[in-house]
């Protein structure tokens, strides 16, 4: 994969097995959609937008001229989805404030009940888990999740490298997850 161009998409290899593009993409959808949505959710922080971008990615795939083998297609699908997500994130920084409304609408449109705010007991558990973390890790978690600062902003503000900020944030989230118990996520 080339690092130079931000959106490198090589032409698809052609395959003469006669499978219709829509069928191939349906197979991709059935096999990899959960993974794709999981990736997009972590990037876009919105369930509804993750589904939207996933669908857009499939449509883009369908519009490609030469369909290839499904296993090979997966890398393309994720590449396309990743680029679409990137475009959205860039737009979003311009319209940060409009996002709040969308977020509420997303929540209302969410299909299941497992997307819910934290219960008070859960916050109490988080608070206890928090107390076990080093002060620096706590601060980074707060800056990101409560004050809404980006990783880069945090790195600049406290004079750490991006990599260290990532490390602290990852450790804090993993620790909280372990302390909250490990009920299976309902997807």
């Amino acid at each position: 994969m080339s690092e130079k161009s931000p959106h490198p998409i090589e032409p698809l290899p052609s395959v003469e097995n006669g499978t219709a593009p829509a069928d191939l993409i349906e197979q991709l959808f059935r096999k990899h959609n959960a993974l794709l949505v999981s990736f997009l959710k972590s990037r876009l922080r919105s369930e509804a937008e993750a589904h939207e971008v996933a669908q857009e990615a499939y449509v883009r795939m369908l519009q490609l001229e030469r369909p290839g083998v499904v296993s090979y297609h997966r890398a393309y699908l994720f590449k396309i989805a990743s680029n679409l997500a990137m475009d959205r994130l860039r737009q979003r920084t311009v319209q940060r404030h409009a996002r709040l409304h969308e977020f509420v609408v997303d929540w209302l449109a969410a299909p299941s009940t497992d997307r819910r705010v934290l219960a008070e007991e859960e916050v109490a558990t988080l608070q206890a888990a928090f107390a076990e973390l080093p002060a620096k890790t706590q601060g980074i978690f707060r800056r990101h999740f409560i004050a809404g600062e980006t990783l880069q902003e945090i790195a600049r503000a406290i004079g750490l490298t991006d990599r260290m900020v990532r490390y602290h944030l990852a450790h804090a989230l993993a620790h909280c997850r372990m302390r909250l118990g490990l009920e299976e996520p309902k997807t």
Partner: protein, 366 residues
């Protein structure tokens, strides 16, 4: 992911490291391929990643929806050490020397001011939380299991919410919008001269009405709209397959109209929207405290009944789908109904962990 996973802690830290990478504005191009390989390695990896993803989403959602709940995480308790030092410092001061008192007074004042500034900064994230309060004006109504609630909307329309159901309303100068989040509701829509449309968004489908009465029932798999008066227009929203078909230039019927005593059942990926005739009195029987069914798959019957049952019911055994049920259900006679179900159909009713589970009987037991 299980509680007994020996590598859970390591796995979780790895998953979190991936998650954190994706929080960067521009993750490296090779990250995704490496992440996919990691997710493929073991199914527990994907589960760990998803569980972190969910927690992060829930924390973000809580910040937006109910910031007060997160207050315990925001509060920075003054450090005990700082307090002790402060007390020690103050008590060490000797007031015997009157001449030096003003200097000490200034010192203490400075200290108090510094503490004030520190507290002010500790309060910054708390203040920033409040930006969330400018969300759009909307109403939300929720009923518990076996509950029923009548709601008079601001435009004079009336709706009755069934058991275990929830709606959210958004009224603006241009339209009247009600989202059916789950369960069932019966609507009596007031006609407006200004022509502001009344819309019910039920996930897979939107129902548009102008002065009419209808019932909408929603579950994970389908939405059923039954008209008791007037006409409604039902528009299916793009499901995955219909979106694909549209992109490929294949038309799929997306809109249906239904009149009195007609029903449209919308499934996300069905090939067409079919309008059938039904008995609206039977469909809306829940409003009179009982449920009536004719030739309905047993799993759907159980799902409907569970919204009015005082005991939690579960019947998601796929074998139940092939059994059709005709009859009625009265919430007060739940035990008798369950008993009868076992006598008439090849099913068994069991209680596990406080939940009553209905499943197909194994062939060997009969």
């Amino acid at each position: 992911m299980t509680r007994t996973d020996p590598d859970l802690k390591v796995r979780m830290e790895e998953a979190a490291a991936w998650w954190a990478r994706f929080q960067e504005c521009e993750p490296a191009a090779d990250d995704m391929a490496a992440w996919l390989a990691w997710m493929d390695q073991e199914p527990e990896n994907a589960a760990a990643f998803e569980s972190l993803n969910e927690l992060a989403l829930r924390i973000r959602q809580t910040r937006t929806e109910a910031p007060a709940v997160l207050q315990p995480l925001v509060e920075q308790r003054p450090s005990r050490g700082w307090l002790r030092n402060c007390v020690a410092f103050l008590s060490s001061m000797s007031f015997s020397n009157a001449a030096s008192l003003p200097t000490r007074y200034v010192l203490v004042t400075c200290l108090v001011a510094a503490a004030g500034v520190a507290l002010l900064f500790a309060g910054v994230p708390r203040l920033r939380l409040h930006y969330a309060s400018d969300r759009p004006a909307s109403g939300q109504y929720i009923t518990p299991t076996a509950g029923q609630r009548e709601v008079l909307l601001e435009d004079g329309s009336r709706l009755v919410l069934g058991g275990a159901s929830a709606i959210a309303t958004e009224f603006s100068a241009k339209r009247r919008m009600v989202r059916l989040l789950c369960g069932e509701a019966y609507f009596e829509v007031k006609h407006e001269v200004s022509g502001r449309p009344f819309e019910v968004d039920a996930g897979f489908a939107t129902v548009r009405a102008i002065g009419t009465a209808f019932d909408v029932r929603k579950d994970d798999r389908h939405v059923a709209v039954t008209v008791t008066e007037g006409r409604v227009k039902i528009e299916r929203k793009d499901g995955f397959l219909s979106g694909l078909a549209a992109a490929a230039g294949i038309a799929r019927p997306q809109i249906a109209e239904a009149g009195r005593a007609q029903q449209v059942v919308i499934e996300p990926d069905a090939t067409r929207l079919a309008v059938t005739t039904t008995d609206p009195v039977r469909v809306t029987s829940w409003r009179r405290g009982h449920l009536e069914f004719i030739d309905e798959p047993l799993d759907e019957v159980i799902r409907s009944v569970s919204r009015y049952s005082v005991k939690p019911l579960k019947g998601d055994d796929p074998a139940l789908r092939s059994i059709t049920y005709t009859g009625s259900f009265v919430p007060e006679h739940l035990d008798g109904w369950l008993e009868a179900l076992q006598n008439v159909f090849p099913v068994e009713v069991r209680r596990t962990d406080g939940v009553t589970v209905i499943q197909a009987r194994a062939p060997s037991t009969r």
